[in-house]
């Protein structure tokens, strides 16, 4: 992993995406800010209800009602160097961005693949939507895309329908479709979560290689800290709709500045090659007590406080997201004591 260049290509600023459910409001994304630089992989990590997926759908403007962006900006820097705000961009202009500038892949490949068309036709359609190109040229490019994602016998596979492919291959076809127009940003929402571990390893290797070769920026949304450690340059940790910590990957795994991140890491059994300690006892995990809160019924102040071992009276006041160290943000009053 090389050092990432400095220029941000995507800046999410104070994003608020809320779901109005009758009289209640679920603040699924509440005042979320982070940058993605060119050629950088930023992992957005969180558990269910953290708002990580809603953040990515907001960037793509793929929210379905009652979800809606109620505040903040999503600034995308175009090739010409001007910044446009995707949060307020009219839908017809957004269509020129989706797929062409920013593409997205999902956990479930059938979210983006149409079961009624062959994989080749779908890639061709995507290319011709954004670029002036003959069918023949587009088909040739589609074949190269399938080769790029390491689908064997690519020329033959162009005529496959999605159901004729295995799960791992469908995932690759979806990646080929997403990358067909050479997007500058790829948003990957749990793309390996449903895959078996040996297939996940193949897809992670592929994504890492493509990111480096194509120089894309990647926003990788996941709940899996192992995947984060393998892929990310920087990490944004979300909890109950907010960013609670953000740091370069090595820094984050070495020294956590938020009790939630620290707790999350302590929950994962780490490989110990079947060792037991000398007493013959298995080491115990240190779980976080309680469960993830409902974003439609959050307590005032820090949302993590009810589960936090460091909580104090002051935590009833919402802590700001502040620098705890250079390049390392934490939303915790006690970030120095974590």
């Amino acid at each position: 992993m090389s050092a990432a260049p400095a220029e941000p290509i995507l800046r999410v600023e104070n994003l608020k995406t809320w779901f109005e459910l009758g009289s209640r409001v679920a603040r699924s994304v509440d005042d979320v800010s982070f940058d993605v630089r060119r050629g950088e992989t930023v992992a957005v990590v969180g558990e269910s209800g953290s708002g990580k997926s809603v953040t990515s759908l907001s960037i793509m403007r793929l929210l379905s009602p009652p979800g809606r962006i109620v505040g903040g900006r999503i600034l995308y820097r175009t090739q010409e160097g001007t910044e446009i705000d995707l949060a307020t961009l009219p839908e017809h202009k957004m269509r020129g961005i989706r797929g062409r500038e920013i593409a997205m892949i999902f956990q479930e490949p059938m979210t983006s693949l149409n079961p009624l068309f062959t994989v080749g036709d779908q890639i061709v359609e995507m290319i011709r939507l954004h670029e002036k190109m003959s069918r023949r040229e587009a088909r040739e490019r589609a074949r190269r895309m399938l080769e790029l994602v390491e689908i064997p016998a690519a020329a033959r596979r162009l005529d496959d329908y999605p159901h004729q492919m295995s799960g791992g291959m469908r995932q690759r076809a979806m990646i080929a479709l997403a990358l067909a127009c050479d997007p500058r940003v790829l948003i990957a929402d749990e793309p390996t979560t449903a895959l078996d571990v040996t297939i996940q390893a193949q897809v992670l290797d592929l994504l890492r290689r493509l990111q480096a070769e194509l120089g894309m920026s990647v926003v990788f949304v996941t709940h899996n800290l192992g995947v984060v450690a393998e892929l990310a340059h920087r990490v944004v940790v979300m909890y109950a709709g907010r960013v609670v910590e953000s740091a370069p990957v090595n820094e984050l795994f070495e020294r956590q500045r938020h009790p939630y991140t620290k707790g999350l890491l302590a929950c994962i059994p780490t490989p110990r090659h079947g060792r037991t300690d000398p007493s013959g006892e298995r080491p115990r995990l240190t779980p976080i007590p309680g469960s993830v809160p409902n974003v439609a019924a959050l307590p005032p102040g820090c949302a993590f406080a009810p589960r936090c071992p460091l909580a104090i009276a002051k935590c009833e006041i919402d802590p700001p997201l502040e620098f705890a160290a250079p390049g390392h943000l934490s939303r915790c009053w006690r970030h120095d004591e974590v």
């Binding site: 558990e47 269910s48 295995s166 799960g167 791992g168 291959m169 078996d196 571990v197 040996t198 297939i199 996940q200 390893a201 193949q202 992670l204 290797d205 709940h223 899996n224 800290l225 192992g226 995947v227 984060v228 450690a229 393998e230 990310a232 990957v249 090595n250 795994f253 707790g263 999350l264 890491l265 302590a266 929950c267 994962i268 059994p269 780490t270 490989p271 110990r272 090659h273 079947g274 060792r275 037991t276 298995r282 080491p283 115990r284 995990l285 240190t286 779980p287 976080i288 007590p289 469960s291 993830v292 589960r307």
Partner: protein, 332 residues
């Protein structure tokens, strides 16, 4: 495998085939392993490995097609179905999905109480007391006995499922992916609970999972399955510390570790898991194995012991090429 008294469960040559329109699916094929009293044995594998079907055959929730399931000296697979009820009191199951495995129309006290009723274990006030005690034991508030499943979080529901399994005081529990539907922070709570209960009641457990680190954490022994067959089995210490089968090695090296500085000696397996409708001849792993030779297609390799209790189903298990230190996941 002799039926030593410290072996509570001995699975011998277990097979299960399902007829489908596309032909026979060999979900489980000639699977054998022992579970010692008071131990936790992990059954790991990817999708299509047959781990779930094997677990259900053990309880006869699915009828085995062949083989023996010897529980405390008696072959359950040979018993008439009506005789199983008495045995079911001694063996219970915890399911993966805490949403679909609890009846949404029953109150928690009846979800747990039903098991007591079935086996005539407690009635009236005794039943209420026992339910309260079980809820307390799994870390839930006994006051919540009158609530319905939807009023609980995923982790709490899984605790209810565990309390239901414990209600009849079983000796043996099959836990089928009991934490994989849970958030990471909640997963650890349930793993600790399972471990505490196992110790407190001296339970014997068959723990089915696809998450290798969870199995390593919890289990004394591991059985690694692929496409219906056992590839390797043995003490966790050996299978994780010194894996011998190429599949086990690839599987261990494929799992991402939460440490960005960990060296990555990853073995990336080519291709997909073959269809169980049409498994490869000979060794079922050979189509993805970088060490496969012509002989691998000819015969199904038997699981041979390479150390006491550590068996590997690979004809090249002793070949030096397979045992290059560079490939050991210990160097991850």
């Amino acid at each position: 495998m002799s039926e030593r008294p410290d072996i509570l469960l001995s699975v011998q040559g277990l097979s299960k085939t399902f007829p489908t329109r596309g032909g026979l699916v060999r979900a489980v094929e000639d699977v054998s392993f022992d579970v010692r009293r008071g131990s936790i044995v992990g059954l790991v594998g990817e999708s299509g490995s047959g781990k779930t079907t094997a677990g259900r055959c053990v309880l006869r929730l699915v009828e085995p097609s062949a083989g023996r399931v010897v529980f405390d000296g008696v072959d359950l697979a040979a018993l008439p179905a009506r005789d199983m009820r008495a045995w079911r009191r001694r063996m219970q199951i915890v399911f993966q999905d805490p949403y679909s495995s609890l009846n949404p129309r029953l109150r928690v006290e009846d979800i747990i109480g039903e098991a007591l009723d079935t086996h005539g274990l407690a009635r009236g006030g005794k039943r209420r007391e026992r339910v309260a005690e079980l809820l307390r034991r799994v870390g839930l508030d006994p006051e919540h006995a009158r609530r319905f499943p939807h009023e609980f979080s995923g982790g709490q529901r899984q605790r209810i499922g565990i309390a239901r399994a414990l209600a009849v005081e079983p000796e043996f529990i099959v836990a089928d992916e009991p934490v994989s539907a849970l958030d990471v922070s909640v997963q650890a709570q349930v793993l600790n609970l399972l471990q505490d209960l196992q110790k407190a009641y001296g339970l014997t457990m068959l723990f089915i999972a696809h998450d290798l680190s969870v199995v390593e954490y919890l289990c004394d022994e591991v059985v690694v399955m692929y496409l219906g067959r056992v590839m390797e089995r043995g003490p966790s210490r050996l299978v994780y510390g010194a894996p011998r089968h190429p599949y086990t090695r690839a599987l261990l090296s494929a799992a991402p570790t939460p440490d960005p500085k960990a060296p990555r000696g990853r073995i990336v397996l080519q291709g997909d898991i073959p269809s169980p409708l049409d498994p490869p001849s000979g060794c079922v792993f050979r189509t993805r194995c970088r060490y496969a030779v012509a002989a691998c297609a000819a015969t199904v390799p038997a699981a041979e012991e390479v150390a006491p209790g550590h068996a590997v189903a690979c004809i090249r298990r002793d070949d030096p090429e397979l045992n290059e230190p560079a490939l050991s996941p210990a160097g991850r």
